[in-house]
């Protein structure tokens, strides 16, 4: 809500500067910004009562512990009920409906220039003095009004939800709107004349030739108005107020004020005020226990002080008991219904900044059940030179389907910001590809990046999220040192990097298995398991799924932190042997179809005496090696816990190993 400072200052009868006035309102909960001569108030949705000069005045004077001195000048009218004027109102949407009929209008002048400028600066266009006056009263006391051309109405009026299908109405401004069945409407005998609380029809609107008017002031329930205006693409000053709530007892006053001001700009013959209400609003009482309030706030306020504060805000004491004071809530404070609501009023007036502070309290000690796997993985990657990135989770259909199998059903947004990206990601790689691309374009040639975030999936009638940690290594050019030393990064560099990461975090028993095809990797990929739990996948990136964002061989991985528990188990430490290690190398020739994994398994399962470890130190193909075969040099390390091994003992173990490899894998010894 925008209010002219000069107008507000006069209204409040204060000399405070614009900035000081803003500070006061901010202190009591109405944040404001200065824009030239304007003050823009950010009124929270619970405080519809403050959306007027009167509303601001109440707060301003309560803050100063004073009562406003000015009384609202208004005419006094008698109320009539007549079903020929207002026939029926739907009580579920309308609390009361008032219609002031004025006939024989003439010599209509414009509002004075101050009022006109005040209305315009509030963002409301000037239309016609009769309409402008209604808008002025709304800004002044907070009751939205609508002015019909009485001669264009076929009375009586009914306030109801449309019963006929396919109602349409041409609203002020000329747009044709299909009236929704959820919208409360003002209907005369010819049809819909207004969408309640939002906008009137063009047909019954006032014009320069209007000489009789029907001025409407009503209480429409917020719950029937809220979200309606949006559905029509109309957000009016009236709907903004009705959505937040309007004082249900203000309507007669508003019309009387309208008439009082009308006297200053026009002449007329006849006025009569009609009304209808569905049920009278009940007086609302709320109890305050001051002792409880003091416990809640940390203050020690006396009951008398609490009463004074609330009285200044327009609350009246209904009754006073030993512990409790019961207050009558003024009709404009429809936001108050609980004792805690009164606490807020008290604290607001007392000043939040005046409440004494206590030292921070700690909660009870809890078993640390938090899984900090992600934090540890993240740090491990950072130490290996990876940069962490973050991205939005919205993706296009194409990129989703390139990176996710058909079984992976996408989570789709009903109202995406960008129509081309309606799906939630099922993989983090799309963003990583784009990051590689944009940084290579900038001139980066070596990139190591990762991202941690959720990916989403639709499952039957609900959705699942799972945490992924995905990373990429990309060298746009071979890396060379200044001395021409080449630093080659390949699949096995990646395997070392991932092994080092996982083992450093305490995962000693990881198992690599050839991956079953999973995007975005090509065939050179591994699944990584701990027991039966797949915890990660790593491999070469299949360039065809990168939408041309990645040009050269890249390596990637995805780790599932939720599948990894880093609960440390104290290892059982065994006494180390004090006897020397002995190593023996052998060369074997194997058929190339046999994987190294099979060699590992064969040896590991055989329980060879004194063997502590073995590793591959070389492979060779070509000269002297039959086609389709490969030569491997294996190094075996032996040790005893009880003695230095004899040559003959080591030889026996070697013989046994060789026999095993011959038998199981058809390995040939190469001399």
């Amino acid at each position: 809500m925008k209010i002219q400072y000069s107008y507000l200052k006069n209204f409040l009868n204060t000399n405070l500067s614009q900035k000081k006035l803003c500070d006061v309102f901010t202190q009591v909960g109405f944040e404001c910004d200065i824009e030239g001569d304007l003050i823009e108030f950010d009124i929270t949705p619970n405080r519809g009562d403050a959306l007027s000069l009167r509303g601001l005045e109440r707060e301003f004077y309560a803050y100063q512990s004073k009562k406003p001195s000015q009384k609202l000048e208004k005419s006094t009218l008698k109320l009539f009920q007549d079903r020929k004027i207002i026939n029926q109102i739907d009580g579920s949407g309308c609390g009361n409906y008032h219609l002031m009929l004025i006939k024989g209008l003439q010599k209509i002048k414009n509002l004075d220039s101050k009022k006109r400028s005040f209305i315009e600066s509030a963002g409301i266009p000037l239309i016609n003095p009769l309409v402008d006056l209604g808008n002025y009263v709304m800004l002044e006391i907070g009751a939205p009004m609508h002015v019909f051309d009485l001669d264009k109405l076929a009375l009586p009026i009914n306030v109801r939800f449309p019963q006929e299908e396919h109602n349409s109405v041409t609203v002020i401004g000329g747009d044709v709107k299909d009236v929704l069945s959820s919208s409360l409407t003002i209907q005369d005998q010819s049809g819909v004349q207004a969408i309640a609380g939002i906008i009137g029809s063009e047909a019954s609107s006032v014009s320069s030739s209007t000489s009789s008017i029907a001025v409407e002031a009503a209480f429409f329930r917020p719950e029937v108005i809220v979200n309606q205006a949006r559905k029509y693409g109309l957000a009016t000053d009236a709907s903004h107020r009705f959505e937040r709530g309007v004082d249900p007892e203000l309507q007669q006053t508003a019309l009387e004020r309208y008439l009082f001001l009308l006297d200053q700009i026009a002449e007329y013959d006849l006025v009569k005020l009609y009304y209808s209400y569905s049920h009278k609003s009940k007086e609302k009482n709320v109890k305050l226990n001051v002792a409880r309030f003091n416990k809640f706030s940390g203050l020690s306020l006396k009951a008398s002080k609490a009463i004074l504060i609330l009285k200044n805000l327009g609350f009246k004491v209904h009754s006073r008991g030993e512990k409790n004071v019961t207050f009558i809530i003024p009709s404009h404070r429809f936001d108050i219904s609980l004792e805690e609501d009164l606490y807020e009023e008290l604290l607001r007036s007392y000043g939040y900044d005046n409440i004494p502070i206590s030292k921070p309290k700690a909660g009870p000690i809890v078993n640390n059940r938090q899984n900090n796997t992600l934090d540890n993985l993240r740090l491990g990657l950072v130490h290996s030179g990876f940069k962490e990135l973050m991205h939005m989770p919205f993706v296009s259909r194409d990129s989703f389907h390139q990176l996710n199998s058909n079984n992976w059903k996408p989570a789709e947004l009903h109202n995406p910001i960008n129509e081309n990206e309606p799906l939630l990601r099922g993989s983090l790689f799309r963003s990583l590809f784009a990051a590689v691309n944009s940084n290579v374009k900038k001139g980066y040639t070596s990139i190591k990046i990762f991202e941690a975030g959720n990916v989403f999936q639709k499952e039957k009638s609900s959705f699942t999220q799972s945490l992924h940690l995905s990373g990429m290594i990309y060298h746009h050019e071979p890396q060379k040192a200044w001395n021409q030393k080449e630093l080659i990064y390949d699949f096995f560099s990646l395997k070392a990097e991932i092994s080092k990461l996982l083992q450093t975090l305490g995962m000693q028993n990881i198992e690599f298995q050839k991956a079953i095809s999973l995007m975005p990797f090509n065939e050179n990929a591994l699944d990584i398991y701990i027991g039966k739990q797949k915890i990660a996948v790593m491999g070469e990136i299949e360039l065809s799924v990168t939408e041309k964002l990645v040009k050269k061989q890249a390596y990637g991985f995805v780790i599932y932190p939720e599948k990894i528990s880093l609960v440390s188990i104290n290892p059982k430490i065994v006494k180390t042997s004090k006897f020397p290690l002995s190593t023996r190398d052998i060369n074997i020739v194997l058929d190339k179809s046999i994987s190294y994994k099979e060699v590992e398994i064969s040896i590991s399962q055989a329980a060879i005496k004194h063997l502590v470890s073995f590793n591959l130190i070389n492979t060779f193909e070509g000269k002297d090696i039959p086609k389709g075969s490969v030569s491997m040099t294996l190094r075996f390390t032996f040790q005893s816990r009880t003695k230095s091994l004899l040559e003959s003992e080591i030889n026996r173990s070697m013989q046994m190993t060789l026999k095993l490899l011959e038998k199981r894998l058809n390995a040939k010894i190469r001399l």
Partner: protein, 327 residues
């Protein structure tokens, strides 16, 4: 007899620049060999008168001993150096990449690190949520204008429940209040989504919210912990202002402003005492327990902390930008 006074000094200086064993022996010969000054001087002693002879002999002996000692000490260093290949050690290292955490991660950790010693537990929660946990249980009834404060992304779903992307991490607090034992001290960090986008708003941002439900917690406790947190975070005494505001899930509610540099008051977080409707909805006995809650936007804190002016930079994958944040 003339005995040069700087002989020891020049010998020591020359020894320092020696690179190999050969050079060492050459130098030793120069100072202590047959043709050296000391040796030739000894042979010239006989030409002197007896008194002068005695004095010169004394002086020469001291000099010879000192030189011998000097070369003895140096030989140990020199012998080790003999095969050394001399490097220009100022040449650059092999190529390497420096990693770092994302600034949003760092700021999140900085916030969390204040609260974990106070035994606040961390709950991350669901990013896709039902209307109940995101709104209803937090006292945002259907058709309540407060819902317009949150532009919500909805998911297309065939089921009965309406799913959405959470608009705040308070959904996690509802889960925790329903499932965890009291008293409860918790933080819920995570990503949240709002259906709007411009230079100051992103459709996704990071929030950290805190919740305490305990007996006898007061508004003063809430103020105390937040002021202390802010002073810890910025590592200086802060001017902090609490002013009334409105959130459906707290009553009373407050916005917290700080004076930051010469920018005047800046809104930094929202907080309040947990609304009784929220506690009752989570089956918490409001006669016994009260709560307070607070929430902050991590991007906003990161922008202030690092002086970042465009929020979109955080999600741009621009390495030039990210390289400025050391780990």
């Amino acid at each position: 007899m003339q005995i040069p006074q700087d002989l020891i000094e020049t010998a020591a200086l020359k020894l320092k620049s020696i690179q190999s064993e050969a050079e060492f022996f050459q130098l030793r010969a120069q100072y202590l060999g047959k043709k050296s000054f000391v040796v030739t001087a000894f042979s010239k002693l006989r030409d002197l008168q007896s008194e002068e002879k005695v004095n010169a002999a004394k002086e020469l002996n001291v000099l010879k001993n000192n030189l011998t000692k000097l070369f003895e000490i140096s030989i140990e260093d020199i012998l080790g150096k003999s095969d050394l290949k001399k490097l220009d050690v100022t040449l650059p290292a092999d190529p390497f990449l420096v990693g770092s955490e994302h600034p949003i991660t760092k700021i999140s950790e900085k916030i969390i690190n204040y609260f974990t010693p106070l035994n606040y537990q961390i709950f991350s929660g669901n990013e896709i949520e039902t209307d109940f946990y995101n709104f209803e249980a937090l006292n945002f009834p259907e058709n309540h204008p407060a819902r317009q404060m949150h532009d919500t992304f909805y998911l297309s779903s065939s089921g009965n429940s309406e799913y959405l992307l959470r608009t705040h991490t308070s959904n996690t607090q509802v889960h925790a209040m329903l499932e965890e034992d009291l008293p409860l001290y918790m933080l819920s960090p995570g990503r949240v989504f709002r259906c709007d986008s411009d230079t100051t708003h992103l459709p996704m941002f990071t929030q950290i919210e805190g919740l305490v439900v305990d007996e006898d917690v007061t508004f003063g406790d809430l103020k105390g912990v937040l002021i202390d947190f802010l002073e810890n975070f910025f590592n200086e005494k802060m001017e902090v202002r609490f002013r009334p505001s409105y959130f459906p899930f707290t009553e009373p509610s407050a916005e917290v402003d700080i004076k930051f540099g010469n920018q005047g008051w800046l809104e930094i977080l929202g907080c309040g005492m947990v609304h009784p409707n929220v506690l009752n909805g989570c089956n918490i006995d409001t006669k016994k327990f009260r709560g307070f809650a607070f929430g902050m936007g991590v991007e906003r804190l990161a922008m202030l902390y690092y002086g970042v002016t465009d929020i979109r930079e955080f999600y741009s994958s621009n390495l030039d930008f990210l390289n400025q944040f050391p780990s």
